[in-house]
Symmetry: D2
Subunit: 203 residues, 4 copies
């Protein structure tokens, strides 16, 4: 299995965000398959189409970082039954200018962790709705509505302690690595098919 | 009918936003019933719970402006099948700190205008999902997915030209004025009922 | 407070459905304010517009029962992250023929109970989305995603045992009674306003 | 490219359903790649878990037909801003008994056609939400909200006339054939990887 480059986008800016901790755990669990890096979104100005003629420097930085990777892992809390505005803004920034979206075709997974019982279901599915438009194949199962997540489930260095949450996150990490590999390899197969067909037609 | 104070929140920062123009039309059509004012959201820093101990000045300004009104009109485009990040961020800012949401109980209407055919259906319903949590009674009908809206439907001063869109927006303006009035009056009735009951119990 | 007639629509056909038990508890908690009756939906044939020229008898029975009430309480499980088909079919049957929907303007509340943690969030919000089109004002708060509900929380006669679930359902019952009363009274006020205005114009 | 077996599930029971016509067009456009067959859902009794001990014959027939295919094409109208109840019921029937869902892992595409402008956006995304739980990889692009579809766009034999809708449906047909092929081949690759790994471990 080739090692794939993954950008992790965290929907919370809070320093001690549990979603950030979950994101780091995913990285720690898949060192052989995934090379993960958190891409920051807190400095991206609100998207404004009027600025595209002279875009903020942070837009260029963010778009370049997302362009460079093979897949995306979103880890997000839920605010008011939906995605945090800061995360949706990052989605919006990456999707423009029209026709130059950096999200296009990148395999993704969505994890929503929260201290409440519902586990960010609303945020999770709103993000999925965006991924349809963005043409990002999103891992369907296992779904990752992580409810009742608290700081106590992580040790002092932010690593998941033994327990059911760690088991689930391990499973998610493995499934995500497989998913990215499937989509990346499939796209290569399709490209080869097209090349063969073009060559055959030319002969 | 008492004249109600309305805050209009526009989901696009673009100077020539068609949603801003639609918002202004609603105001122009209901001078007898609604006193409307656009409340700006572009300067609100991304919500970060860590900042609540010393919140940005723009948060206080925004929360005060929303607190002061009787109802809210949202006019928004759709970005990537959902609400623009900048609008969701304003929602998030107004909803915190926990237990002090400025949106609570305010009647609202949601208009989504776009140049495409779908008329912002995705943005419209994601905003409705937030309003459930925020305890904002949202006008159900007429729904306002305004599709195929272009600059040509407005004159040089941004006023709607005669035509089907103007007819629809006029109808929306009237229905929204009624909706705000219903909810505001109902809340007064409920409060009076409770006062009567308390008085009766005391006698 | 006038006593209002309420139709309860249960999204599960299972004989021992926990949603049916929750529905019965709501009725038992509001005898002074609400006169509740479960309206059955299991015998409604799948909606087919071709049959409207000679509709199934069950359609007429159902439409009459819904027409007769002041408000609607939905209690539903979640199937596959959405509303059960049988419940959506009842919605569809009541909404037709076009222009004669029996749901129009009726105040409603939505409770989704499930043995899992998420409490039917997906079903709950899909039903809310239908209610926008159906012009049904739905109670926003308290939201009722009842998670981890089991048979053990009910006694042999299907009544809620003492505990946090009973407390929550009691609160929901009271809020729903208030909500129905608000909407019914508001509509009367609006009608009176219109009558006054018409009389004044005629004089 | 191997020829794949496809089940088409149509969300409308109406004899002259435009979604049925669109479904037939997809089949007609991909005879080399897809072997399509409409699987009927109108005779499936409403799902009731109590019946699983002695399920209706139609359940067995439907589950067998879906089990037998490589992929699924959904073509559906929107009723009341969501999926028709009859379609959701078919989803529910196929998903049970628990652990024996016939939808599992099958690649899918979702087309929503309607005479209105919005093109079934609400139905389309509710179905996508179910597919997450059902573990069905759904084609993301092109999205297929087919708005303003009328009988006039089909000839007497139900074939699409020349025009923009035909162009779009042709594009959808090709993309769907590619999508099914990608997912089916990827699963084979993964299975081979696992077999290699097992063999290597055994040696």
């Amino acid at each position: 299995m080739t090692k794939h480059q993954i950008a992790i986008v965290v929907g919370s800016l809070r320093r001690d965000s549990i979603n950030r901790k979950v994101a780091r755990s995913i990285c720690a669990f898949t060192p052989h398959a995934l090379d993960c890096k958190i891409v920051e979104i807190g400095d991206l100005p609100h998207y404004n189409q009027d600025q595209e003629s002279n875009p903020p420097e942070a837009y260029a930085r963010f778009r370049q970082q997302i362009s460079a990777v093979d897949g995306i892992l979103f880890c997000t809390p839920e605010y008011n039954r939906g995605m945090p505005g800061v995360l949706k803004n990052a989605i919006d920034v990456g999707s423009r200018p029209y026709g130059q979206s950096v999200w296009d075709k990148k395999p993704a997974a969505i994890i929503s962790a929260s201290p409440g019982g519902i586990g960010g279901f609303g945020a999770n599915h709103q993000l999925r709705q965006a991924c349809v438009f963005l043409n990002m194949p999103v891992m369907q199962q296992p779904e990752a509505y992580l409810g009742s997540v608290t700081d106590a489930q992580f040790d002092e260095e932010g690593r998941l302690r033994e327990g059911p949450l760690k088991e689930l996150v391990l499973q998610l990490a493995g499934a995500f690595a497989d998913w990215v590999d499937i989509i990346v390899r499939s796209r290569k197969l399709l490209a080869e098919d097209a090349a063969h067909a073009a060559k055959a037609a030319a002969e």
